[in-house]
Symmetry: C2
Subunit: 132 residues, 2 copies
DNA sequence: ATCGCACACGTTATAGCATAACGCAATTGA
DNA sequence: TCAATTGCGTTATGCTATAACGTGTGCGAT
């Protein structure tokens, strides 16, 4: 599941996400890529689908947006569950990992024999700067 | 923040969610209430907004759906962070609470001086019955 | 009592997010 | 060479959510 070479569209989308200073919606990405020939949402969604699969991009479910993984170069899938703190004022996102949280959730799923595929942890609120 | 008496629309929406055996989208709720005079999405969304505020309904961010709280009568807001396991085959949702997970996340937010408002934990996968 | 306010409600319109279905081109491996 | 796979482009559509307007009702303060 490590990332193969990106296709042109995938590279364009990834580049936009990496240069952005916060999460972007698919349609925002589309707008930023119109100059590069993008015309339709599917061009973005298809690229995102692969980038998510490769683990180099994360989807923020609670705000329907996407961010580049905070671990450039590494495969983020190997870090365990990813958690996000999303500032609702400035839009900044902090990505972190807590193995103890992972263990607790794994314990629960094991006990219930639930086969976890994808886990979402998102904390919305105010970052230090914005809460002042 | 305890729940006052529900209005007619709120009661109708809550009733639909309680009787459902899984999460429902706002539009599914709308369809189920057309016989009761519902015509527009806003009638559902406005009711949901209040029900979420009262803590008697939860929103599942990862599937854009809503479920009645698993603790009838109690104010779910007092149970700490709520976590969900969502079976992608049968649609069943299990709601649970883990104070250790809460503590770990709280520790992180404290350390980062992040003011958490709302935390989402959702595990998607296969329930025991469907994984067989 | 009546004025002002808060709140629930109804309606229309629109904005924002995501995918279905078709066809074409390039690549790869049997 | 043929078939399978993958990426791509386009059009159309469906699903999710909210903006903006107006109505009516209850209720407390003056």
């Amino acid at each position: 599941m490590s990332a193969p070479a990106l296709t042109k569209n995938q590279a364009l989308v990834f580049d936009v996400l990496e240069k952005a200073d916060g999460p972007l919606s698919a349609y925002t990405i589309l707008d930023k890529l119109r100059d590069h020939g993008f015309r339709a949402p599917l061009q973005v969604y298809r690229a995102l689908e692969k980038l998510l699969e490769y683990g180099v991009v994360h989807r923020l479910e609670s705000i329907n947006s996407f961010v580049a993984c905070a671990h450039p170069g590494e495969n983020c899938h190997s870090h365990g569950i990813v958690a996000f703190a999303i500032c609702e004022s400035c839009g900044q996102v902090m990505e972190f990992h807590d193995h103890e949280v992972d263990h607790r959730l794994m314990d629960w799923t094991k006990a219930k024999k639930f086969k976890a595929e994808k886990t979402t942890i998102e904390i919305r609120g105010q970052c230090e700067a914005c809460a002042a």
